[in-house]
Symmetry: C2
Subunit: 235 residues, 2 copies
Amino acid sequence: MKTKSKSQRVYDYIEELVISGEIKPGERLPSEAKLGEILNVSRVSVRAGIEKLSAIGLVRKKKGGGTYVNKPASDNYLSVFTPTLLHNTDYLELLEVRRALDSLSVQLCAKNITEAGLRKLNEILREMEKLSEEDDFFVLDKKFHLLISKYSKNRFLHNVHLIIWDVIQKALRANYYQVTNRDRIGEHRKIVEAIENQDQDLAKIYTVRHLEEIIDTFVCVYNQESHQEAIRTKK
Amino acid sequence: MKTKSKSQRVYDYIEELVISGEIKPGERLPSEAKLGEILNVSRVSVRAGIEKLSAIGLVRKKKGGGTYVNKPASDNYLSVFTPTLLHNTDYLELLEVRRALDSLSVQLCAKNITEAGLRKLNEILREMEKLSEEDDFFVLDKKFHLLISKYSKNRFLHNVHLIIWDVIQKALRANYYQVTNRDRIGEHRKIVEAIENQDQDLAKIYTVRHLEEIIDTFVCVYNQESHQEAIRTKK
DNA sequence: TTTTATAACTTGTATTATAACTTATTTCAA
DNA sequence: TTGAAATAAGTTATAATACAAGTTATAAAA
């Protein structure tokens, strides 16, 4: 029989308090000192347990103010997954998943989009046209696709998209792949037009095509690189 | 300008080491004392940062032995997280995402499945037929679909599926919804047959149908419940 | 060479102290 | 009585030190 560590006991105790509803989102946990008293452990162990809970986003700590149970659906919920997913992720695999999920979200978006949402999409398109720097394009690209997934009105789907774009962003930073975005703006515009007409099928078609263009570009660049790598190794 | 906490600096530093590949899965981190020296912080702060990383499963601590970077896709590395997702997730939204992702994974699976994989799938089918308890069915159901996603050979997709099934499992435990699985076995068998014939399209069709059956059942049960709820409220 | 004992190292927990920040209370002036 | 400012009390963040408990590397012995 393996004995639980003290910090784990703290973790379990608080998790139970939250899941059982004894402490509701927005409410404050007992102070670290009090928890230590209750569970008969030192403040060090209490802090270790709480640290974990805050890492997974169940609670939020406020220096000097206490520790609070998080309201669900705070934006940073899923971002904790990123590092784990990242160092295992082949970018092509991720794009394959995106093709499936973007198809779904654009369909739902075409059904549920509002006037305000459409204005925002068109605004992003205009900003894209004004750009020259490749880096800034990424920011708009991310904003564009996350906006679509947001208007899918499926929060779980949106959350998964948040993970994905977080991974993409970090992959970019880590230079795991190179992007050449050429003329993606036209593809984006077609998608928006289809959404405007609430044509779910067409929106899906354009989105799949968009993703496949991205995949092709990536595969192309990737092959070039490994080719050059092979040449370098020969020398 | 908000200054980062020291524990966050530790967190970021180690995350960077892992993402950049400087420390690879399975390798050991510098000791807490050494990290504190490097970053010029106390061991308390180092431990706080590492605690978070271990909560999200990026690293694994071994008392007396050191802290190691986790190999990705270790079975337990997502489970810590789920309670947060849970009370925010509408089950229907999740099923909608599953429909999209299961379609993809079954297609890839039909392409990439091995003899051994097929044997395992058929074995699960046989076990399902022998069952009576509803609870045990869930375990097999989960195993079945995760096996398919595993043989998609897309690790990112598989990871997302791991998250999803973890959420489903906890939702079950928390009685957020009721399941009535009736005759899902036949649907499973058709999917396996399509995979055996490496017929990607057919496998996809059966999977979509399977998911839509599940959705229908859920909607049906859900409506009944809210109906009864309405009656209770009236009294 | 293999086994065993030892030493060095590493994480887990406890204690104490102080800094930095937040919240509740009290005090004082208008 | 009200409102603002000052104060006190409470809370998390960090540090330093100590020791327990487990692991790993090294040295000694068979």
